[in-house]
């Protein structure tokens, strides 16, 4: 065997961020004084020294071709001396020091199809997962639903008219890469049929004790099938979480009946109210590719009812807490079902144990 030419490099970690900071940031690091959103999609940070940095925020579909990244690089060269950054919500920000370049940069981005916005009291990019593009447990496509929802909510991306910011997140299965469970609106892919076991391949592919212990409800049991060790699923005990499927390739859960659920009222920031989990609004909507009309309509309805009724600065969850959940279901006309009532480990914590609630309006 030929000697390797170079020593293999490992465990170096990422390059230092200091290599990529524009001079204005190096100079004013830790010395920023205040910021303003001067128009939708444009932040101005002012430092103690009086320096001003303009950040122009554009949407990306998260999934990006290398040629698109090269396009962003070229735009950064043209307007920002080559400096840009990405946000935690898959937007790209162009870091401009010359105010005169802000408008031309926006024009260029819009022309190339990457709209500018997503700041302040807006709906910004939807954080999302891989979906049918790349994941084995996806109950729905991620990028496709996100595209359709954002096409419809687009005016809210380009403006700042909402009572507060509204954060939407998407995960295509309960693994929730990107933990969507604390979002104003969360879209979550769900499986609704129990897993199917391939008894032929299981003994060779899976560790049976691991598979059994993977199930949170004890629905996976050891079994002997045709004289060979395997597992069986107690269907009544299954809540379709995919844990067994994650640890055992011989268990199949994906099914054309998979769909989506909608959750509302979560937040992570501490402003005014402590962080909150999102709560169930709609238990199931079937997959309707390519444009998912029911999901789009449902999300738009929730956004519009919120926009109309919430007070200034009130996030979705704060608004619902003020008016009460019965009113939320009444205003959105979403049916309340048995699925909305928790029946898992800490279920009782969400039962109302007082007469402290608003009686609904008298109807017939």
């Amino acid at each position: 065997m030929a000697e390797p030419k170079k020593k293999r490099i490992t465990d170096i970690g990422p390059p230092s961020y200091e290599n990529f900071l524009p001079p204005i940031i190096k100079k004013n690091y830790g010395k920023w004084k205040y910021h303003e959103i001067i128009k939708p999609g444009v932040l101005m940070h002012v430092s103690e020294s009086g320096d001003k940095l303009y950040s122009v925020r554009a949407a990306t579909p998260r999934l990006a071709a290398t040629d698109t990244i090269r396009l962003f690089a070229q735009i950064a060269d043209e307007f920002c001396d080559g400096f840009l950054r990405y946000t935690s919500r898959n937007n790209v920000e162009f870091l401009i020091t010359d105010e005169k370049k802000v408008e031309p940069c926006i024009a260029k981005l819009k022309k190339e199809g990457y709209p500018v916005g997503g700041m302040g009291n807006s709906i910004t990019n939807i954080v999302h997962t891989q979906g049918w593009v790349h994941c084995h447990s996806a109950a729905t496509d991620a990028s496709g639903v996100v595209k359709c929802v954002m096409d419809e909510l687009f005016p809210y991306f380009e403006s700042m008219k909402l009572p507060a910011k509204l954060r939407i997140a998407f995960a295509c299965c309960l693994n929730m890469c990107g933990a969507v469970h604390c979002s104003d609106i969360a879209l979550l892919g769900v499986h609704i049929k129990p897993p199917v076991v391939s008894h032929d391949t299981l003994p060779a592919q899976c560790e049976i004790p691991t598979t059994v212990s993977a199930c949170p409800t004890g629905a996976v049991r050891t079994a002997t099938v045709d004289g060979k060790p395997s597992v069986e699923i107690v269907e009544e005990q299954c809540m379709f979480c995919a844990n067994c499927f994650t640890v055992c390739p011989s268990i199949k859960l994906n099914n054309p009946t998979d769909g989506l659920s909608v959750w509302v009222g979560g937040k992570v920031s501490n402003a005014r109210h402590e962080p909150m989990f999102s709560k169930l609004a709609i238990p199931y909507i079937p997959n309707e590719p390519p444009r998912w009309p029911t999901v789009v309509k449902s999300v738009k309805n929730i956004v519009e009812v919120y926009a109309k009724n919430a007070r200034k600065f009130e996030r979705m969850g704060e608004w619902i807490e003020r008016i009460g959940w019965p009113k939320f279901f009444e205003l959105t006309e979403i049916p309340f079902t048995k699925y909305h009532i928790d029946d898992f480990t800490h279920a009782g914590e969400s039962f109302r144990r007082s007469v402290y609630f608003r009686q609904s309006d008298v109807r017939e």
């Binding site: 293999r8 970690g13 990422p14 998260r62 935690s88 084995h136 054309p256 998979d258």
Partner: protein, 398 residues
Amino acid sequence: MAAKLRETPLIDELLKGPWPSFVKEIKKCAQNEKNERGSARSNDLLGVLERSYKETIGHWKHGGIVGVMGYGGGVIGRYNDLPEEFPNVAHFHTIRVNQPSGWFYTSDILRKLCDIWDKHGSGITNMHGSTGDIVFLGCATDDLEPTFADLTALGFDLGGSGSAVRTPSCCCGMARCEWACYDTMALTDDLTRTFQDELHRPAFPYKFKFKMSGCPNDCVASIARADMSIIGTWRDDIQIDQKAVADYASKLNLENDVISRCPTKCMSWDGKKLSIDNSNCVKCMHCINAMPKALAPGKDRGATILLGSKAPIIGGALLSSVIVPFLKIEPPYEDIKELAEAIWDLWAEHGKNRERVGEFIQRIGMGNFLEQIGLEPRPEMVINPRSNPYIFYDQDQE
């Protein structure tokens, strides 16, 4: 010449509308003449996706063990279940590339990363993955080592996967935010470097994530998404510029928009002067967010450390809970590192397979946990003391 694009009438519907289209991005890759092998992969990906749209089901299979030599993570194996029809995506693995802290780049470094990915892979990326990594989507098994060699030569390394430290990430902090109460990017960079072995060689019961947010606005959702959430805060008085407050008084309704929205009602405004009873301020950030020119966090800054948040799998979703109410965050960060290591030692020894730290604490009890890692119980850690009398009194007391 790139091959003819596959016919994809269903997903072509996603080329329409004002929001940027991921289908357009995949098609760009499928038509990239500089990258013949990669474009064939992207073209097959279009075919697989069209098929999923037709059948409303995914076509990806579990990954086996794939990776680069000496690492136990950083690559997620992915195989297609229709390899005859779509041979170019038969194996189509994900490479996680550890991002620089704060996701700042120069055009030059981005082009070099693109060159590497066009040379070896599909040309499809995620900027960025959920944990924060640069994600290269669609690498064949044989191309993993060469991609890795080119990445490390450029100064990049792989991120975490599996039961390991996952790639730490942070908000832009002091680089571009006046509210940062500590240097999130420096801490993230330092922890990532310190824990390279824990990141690349999974040895824990399950994953462990660090997320650093510079203030309680928590822009990286650290409280919901990190096993260790390090959230900036302060101990002294909110800085007030009374003149700027007066300017806001003409734009905002100070009483309705700010004073009455304070969760502890610790502010007052007499028409001329804003007063804050700082001893009752819970650092929620609302007043500062509403009047960024007039108010700022105090000067005695640091962070609160919280532990244990996670998505539902396996035992249900959790938010992180307070473990260190206040800590000054200063290099070389020995206290944070020692705390993390103490937690890992305990959890690695007693945690069950696929049990996150948050679930582990609930199983063994927070009191026990604190004792084992050597922290004192503090009232800030709970909303209220227990109301049930089922107390496990120690048996070895005098």
